[in-house]
């Protein structure tokens, strides 16, 4: 099946890494004599995890960036990656612990002792009064894997609460659940270099050019070698603009579309019957369902020309090698898990997996979105991607942690549910780290009510986020360049972040903060970690034998290879770049089909709210914007959010347009563009109230993954008065205030303002 390669492809994470000139930067020393050094590391932002060098001066200060020829990115960086280093010595950095003596009073500087004691007192008071589960931990996936492991252990061993979850709940959980259901394991199936060998590349619900810009080189690389590109998205994004087939479907209809593809493929005899028979179970149920999705019906549901469905199905069905990728666009739905399953059904029915150039993957959002969902900071999970309700897993992890299995809490609830429990008074205290839910969670006003109802709230961060600014205690953590540790990128490749600078002021590493809390809670003996390396050593043991087996991973091996794909079950194991070559991760080795019936989103359109609102990202900003809204160049590129509306809706570019949903109303400047469907509007979500897109979104959750339906709710638009202003990001007491751009115009294009414009 595999042709000889007519062109060189560097195999990921192998000996070729050094040959690619990764270390040291070639020629660089000629420019910069002995007064500075380069630290090889990776970016702090998205799941691509581009390699980069940080430039460090004689005083040990990070002051710049140099491209790095790592085999993930081959020196390429996006605008966020180029300026990431500007966070390190940023004037907004939190340099000291902050406490608030009473709600309503301002935060004031405190000593570490005072701040940590307040947290410990808060935990003790709440757990004694209301029970252990009344104190919760809400974590994040921009932390290194060592830290995510530590936080999972901290919640279960130090707090003994069942309430711990993480911000991947807003991001990766639909894909993760679907992968586990279908393949028995949750990881992207192929290294991205496989794209260079494919004939058909299908990308659904992912604005790759803006959210994973450096992944574009693989997409364009595939096309350079003759691959056809299919892009499924309600908006004509930068990668959709020149795609061979662009499928501008209606938000919330993905499952119908993919069922429609499989309908045509089955009808026209383009199935891989041998693959279905040998390597899968459950096809008959899917066949029965997809027979009810002929192109005519699907076209009506999706708002598409039925011919498009025929074309895409033929392209995919006739390809010898095809690959499908998807991201939040199909996952942020009440049917998120099922949407992913329909893509997997298509892949399985045509045998397009487990070979070079044939495969499937979700594109993980956060830098450690993959590693952060594997080792136990998720409400239902123990390290190694183990199920917290699996008796064998419980016994093993209890043994590793030196606790009685009976003392290991059971499954908790998901992130958004926890906030609802806060509002309901079931959860009274919260330790938050690495997240900003007041910007990132749906139906923001309800989220605020949940946080307001807490008796005690501590937040760890390196900038004062909108969420941290309301906490009772704020503990200053580190940016990525001030610590070391591993992360796993969207391919499943484990890479190493290296330390380039010391934390500023009194800021401390997040793992030190957590271990110190554990010590003050009286369980210091189980948290006696003196370095990330010591954490990794325990994580290797804890993950051993699990799906996500990291037991063969060491810092030295990662440095040497440039990254290893898990599972790596022993120190002489080369890693596993491509999964499912011979078997899937179920005991019988076979993948599972899952029949899916499409249904309407949680909030269908009606006469009062006739349009669909979809939310998403723009290239200059990242997640809740707590980092990127403080970096001048990125603010200049995209100073404020806007609403994208089709010209047929009757507005002129720049008009104030009020978006109204059942949750709230916000007035944005209109970007009137032909690149969006007539029945759909778009708002980017990186900004805080009063312009937060999440003032508008619905908090309906997928029943399995509990992911919110960020990607579609019903809305209407009205001619507005004045556009709502952007509020500047909060700063700690004493720091110079951030100045918000007073800019009422929309950007020139969704990617921002052109350089030639005032």
């Amino acid at each position: 099946m595999t042709r000889p390669r007519p062109y060189p492809i560097v195999a990921p994470g192998t000996a070729d890494f050094r040959e690619a000139g990764a270390e040291p930067a070639r020629g660089w020393e000629a420019l910069h004599p002995a007064d500075q050094r380069l630290v090889a590391t990776h970016c702090c932002f998205c799941g691509v995890q581009c390699g980069m060098y940080l430039r460090v001066d004689r005083e040990g200060r990070v002051f710049g960036v140099e491209p790095r020829d790592h085999d993930i990115n081959r020196m390429k960086l996006c605008p966020k990656g180029v300026v990431a280093y500007q966070q390190v010595n940023h004037p907004d950095r939190l340099l000291h612990p902050l406490v608030r003596d009473r709600r309503g009073e301002p935060l004031r500087r405190a000593s570490w002792d005072e701040a940590l004691d307040r947290v410990v007192d808060g935990i003790g008071r709440i757990q004694e009064t209301y029970g252990r589960d009344a104190f919760a931990v809400y974590s994040g996936s921009s932390l290194t894997t060592e830290k995510t492991y530590l936080i999972g252990k901290f919640a279960r061993v130090a707090l003994r609460t069942r309430h711990i979850d993480y911000n991947g709940r807003l991001c990766m959980v639909s894909a993760a659940a679907a992968n586990k259901k279908a393949f028995g394991v949750d990881r992207s199936a192929n290294p991205w270099s496989d794209m260079l060998e494919t004939q058909v590349l299908l990308i659904a619900g992912s604005n790759v050019g803006e959210t994973f810009p450096v992944m574009t080189q693989y997409v364009w690389g595939a096309r350079d070698r003759g691959a056809k590109l299919i892009v499924v998205d309600p908006r004509e994004t930068a990668i959709a603009r020149t795609a061979d087939v662009f499928v501008p479907l209606r938000p919330g209809t993905d499952a119908a579309f993919f069922n429609g593809l499989l309908h045509v493929i089955e009808r026209d005899g383009l199935l891989d019957e041998a693959f279905i028979a040998e390597r899968t179970v459950g096809w008959e149920g899917v066949r029965e369902v997809v027979r009810r999705y002929p192109p005519g019906r699907v076209g009506e549901i999706c708002g598409l020309d039925p011919e498009l469905i025929e074309r895409v199905a033929r392209l995919w069905g006739e390809a010898e090698r095809a690959m499908a990728f998807h991201a939040r666009g199909i996952e942020h739905h009440v049917q998120g898990v099922e949407n992913c399953l329909t893509v997997i059904d298509l892949v399985l029915a045509t045998g397009q997996i487990g070979r070079p150039g044939a495969g499937y993957g979700t594109i993980t959002g956060q830098g450690n979105g993959q590693g952060g969902r594997e080792h136990g900071q998720k409400s239902d999970q123990l390290p190694g991607q183990r199920d917290i309700e699996d008796p064998e897993a419980r016994a093993y992890i209890a043994h590793v942690w030196g606790i009685d299995e009976a003392d290991l809490p059971h499954k908790g609830t998901s992130a958004v549910e926890m906030v609802h429990q806060m509002a309901a008074g079931e959860i009274k205290g919260l330790l938050g780290i690495c997240n900003n839910p007041l910007v990132s969670m749906p139906d923001r006003d309800a989220i605020e009510a949940g946080y307001d109802a807490l008796e005690f709230h501590a937040q760890v961060d390196f900038f004062l986020s909108e969420t941290a600014a309301r906490a009772d205690v704020v503990l200053p953590g580190t940016v990525w360049a001030e610590d070391e540790g591993i992360q796993t990128n969207a391919e499943g490749r484990v890479i190493k972040h290296n330390k380039a600078a010391e934390p500023p002021g009194e800021a401390r590493t997040d793992w030190w903060i957590v271990c110190e809390l554990a010590r003050r809670l009286g369980v210091g003996d189980r948290f006696a970690f003196g370095s990330p390396r010591e954490l990794l050593e325990e994580l290797r043991v804890a993950s051993k034998g699990g799906n996500a087996d990291y037991s063969g991973i060491t810092y030295e091996r990662l440095e040497e290879t440039g990254g290893l794909f898990w599972p790596v079950p022993s120190e002489d194991h080369p890693g596993t770049p491509r999964l499912f070559e011979g078997r899937f991760a179920f005991p019988d080795g076979k993948a599972r089909f899952h029949p899916v019936e499409w249904h309407e989103p949680a909030e269908p359109v009606d006469a009062t709210f006739p349009l669909r609102l979809t939310t998403g990202r723009t290239v200059a900003h990242y997640l809740s914007g707590n980092q990127t809204r403080r970096i001048g160049a990125l603010v200049e590129q995209t100073p404020r959010p806007w609403v994208e509306v089709h010209p047929s809706l009757g507005f002129a570019n720049g008009d104030p347009v009020t978006v109204v949903t059942r949750r709230g109303r916000v007035t944005y400047p209109a970007l009137v563009t032909d690149t969006i469907r007539e029945d759909t509007i778009f708002v980017p979500y990186h900004w805080a109230a009063p312009v937060a897109a999440n003032i508008l979104t619905v908090d309906a959750l997928d029943p399995t993954s509990k992911i919110p339906e960020f990607k579609v709710c019903a809305c209407r638009i009205e001619r507005g008065g004045a556009v709502d202003p952007v509020s500047p990001p909060p700063v700690p007491p004493g720091a110079p205030p951030e100045v918000s751009p007073v800019d009422e115009r929309p950007p020139s294009a969704p990617q921002g303002r052109g350089t030639g414009e005032p």
Partner: protein, 189 residues
């Protein structure tokens, strides 16, 4: 065109402005980007176009030709340099002469700024910052052979036509294979 140069392919551009950000990091003009990134006919499309100095070969560097202070050096390797700070009088003649709208004048400093092909980097064998980081290869640095090895179906030209005026540029433009050289719209009769 056997030497290494920049190849510009607007068809691949995603408008992310990594080139703009990276240009600011170059030590010769830190904090100031020489890149132009335009959204073409925004907001009707997401199409975008990076513009660098094309390092005009024939006629050689109109910016330098019209400079009354003789401030713009064209080095033997064909690189058209930024106006020398010692000589530049900030008059803006170069801005008017440039067919691509590349030079910028800082009116406070009364100095011209423009892309010099990252001379500090290219002269020691490194690629310019913009091409190093460009996530799409819309800005590519290398030889024509290297370009074609990576993109078998591509073709490139070093000629830009404005009406009756042809300009041979040191920086190349990628064209679809088999495409004819056509006048740039708006370039004259």
């Amino acid at each position: 065109m056997m030497r290494r140069t920049l190849f510009i392919d607007p068809g691949r551009c995603i408008g992310c402005q990594a080139c703009v950000a990276a240009c600011r990091e170059c030590d010769s003009h830190r904090g100031r980007s020489m890149m132009h990134l335009d959204y073409i006919d925004g907001p009707h499309t997401v199409a975008s176009m990076p513009t660098v100095c094309m390092h005009c070969q024939d006629p050689i560097a109109p910016c330098a030709e019209v400079c009354p202070a003789d401030a713009i050096l064209v080095s033997a390797d064909g690189v058209v340099h930024e106006a020398s700070k010692e000589r530049c009088i900030g008059c803006g003649n170069c801005v008017h002469a440039c067919p691509f709208g590349v030079p910028k004048i800082d009116h406070e400093e009364k100095l011209q700024y423009k892309c010099n092909l990252c001379y500090d980097r290219t002269s020691v064998g490194l690629a310019p910052m913009c091409a190093s980081v460009c996530p799409t290869g819309s800005i590519f640095y290398g030889t024509l052979e290297e370009l074609l090895a990576a993109r078998p179906s591509a073709a490139a030209t070093d000629i830009v036509v404005f009406g009756e005026q042809e300009i041979v540029t040191g920086v190349a433009t990628v064209t679809p294979a088999g495409a004819e050289v056509a006048a740039v719209p708006g370039g004259g009769p």
